[in-house]
């Protein structure tokens, strides 16, 4: 028998590969297994979203899973990459941007109240990254009169004021 392939449609699914406990630095060896477990869980328990908070790492702001729809998204992952903070706290880009745009935020991480900074070398896509830096910049500028020396120092480090 002979068949002819006339058309191929690729179907793919994806998930963020997030170690369960970033703060304790369980990288390396554990990573792969965590990934595998998570992958199965995601496939099996898609409907069972009730226990999200116990089972998975969720965005500290909207409390949805990183690979689920954040409140500002139209569909899962729509231009909504995860943002990795220098302080090891991670958020949907939409959520953290919305927070940092408020005056109350003072540019601080919602979870540890340190000045929020992107983790270097773990880039979200270029456009988001640039936009994000701009936002952080304006937040800091805004806070210089109120903030302490620490913020000034950050600005210096970024080469913003010399």
């Amino acid at each position: 028998m002979r068949i002819e392939v006339t058309d191929v449609s690729l179907v793919s699914t994806w998930a963020w590969d997030i170690p369960k406990d970033l703060s304790k630095g369980k990288h390396g060896v554990a990573d792969q297994t965590v990934h595998m477990e998570k992958w199965e869980d995601i496939q099996n328990e898609d409907e069972d979203a009730e226990n999200d908070e116990e089972e998975y790492e969720v965005c500290g702001i909207c409390r949805n899973r990183y690979d689920a729809t954040c409140p500002s998204c139209d569909y899962p992952g729509s231009g909504c990459p995860i943002v990795l903070g220098l302080c090891n706290h991670n958020f949907h880009v939409h959520c953290i941007k919305q927070w940092l745009s408020t005056e109350t935020s003072k540019g601080l991480c919602p979870l540890c109240r340190q000045g929020f900074q992107l983790r270097p070398n773990v880039l979200i896509n270029k456009m988001h990254h640039d936009e994000f830096q701009k936002l952080l910049m304006s937040v800091r500028q805004h806070n210089i009169p109120m903030g302490g020396g620490e913020i000034d120092q950050d600005v210096m480090d970024d080469g913003f004021i010399r």
């Binding site: 408020t102 109350t104 919602p110 979870l111």
Partner: protein, 159 residues
């Protein structure tokens, strides 16, 4: 009105299924952003054995903006004024979207356990609290007995 964000739905469900000891919070059936709250006075505080009624409202920008919380029951406390407004950092400039309804209410309960007359909202109460602590505490106890009755059947004492 826009649809209720999933986070608010989840928080509400958990408040009901896994309530914080000494605290109840029920959404109003007409407005799911408006909660009727009761907080039991902490043990060994002047508010012990009292049950205080509060209202909590989640603004449109929640969780980017803090919930609005107010005492409905009359209370003698240096950080709570006659209108029931509360002076608490996490409700104002120390709000963080990582906080939730339950953590905010826990903070309010903690404020009852440790009044802070050095950062007053009700100035007369704070002054009394600093100058004659015993009298102030006695008055707080008296008001608790008078106004913060555990019976919830009749309307709570407003203002």
């Amino acid at each position: 009105m826009a649809a209720l964000p999933k986070r608010i739905i989840k928080e509400t469900e958990r408040l009901v299924s896994d309530p914080v000891p000494g605290i109840t919070a029920e959404p109003h059936e007409d407005n799911l952003r408006y909660f009727q709250v009761t907080i039991e006075g902490p043990q060994q505080s002047p508010y012990e054995n009292g049950v205080f009624q509060l209202e909590l409202f989640l603004p449109d920008d929640y969780p980017m903006e803090a919930p609005k919380v107010r005492f409905l029951t009359k209370i003698y406390h240096p950080n709570i004024d006659r209108l029931g407004r509360i002076c608490l950092d996490v409700l104002k400039n120390n709000w963080s979207p990582a906080l939730q309804i339950r953590t905010v209410l826990l903070s309010v309960q903690a404020l009852l356990a440790s009044p802070n007359p050095n950062d007053p909202l009700a100035n007369d109460v704070a002054e009394e609290w600093i100058k004659h602590e015993d009298t102030a505490i006695a008055k707080a106890k008296e008001w608790t007995k008078l106004y913060a009755k555990p019976t919830q059947d009749e309307e709570p004492a407003k203002e």
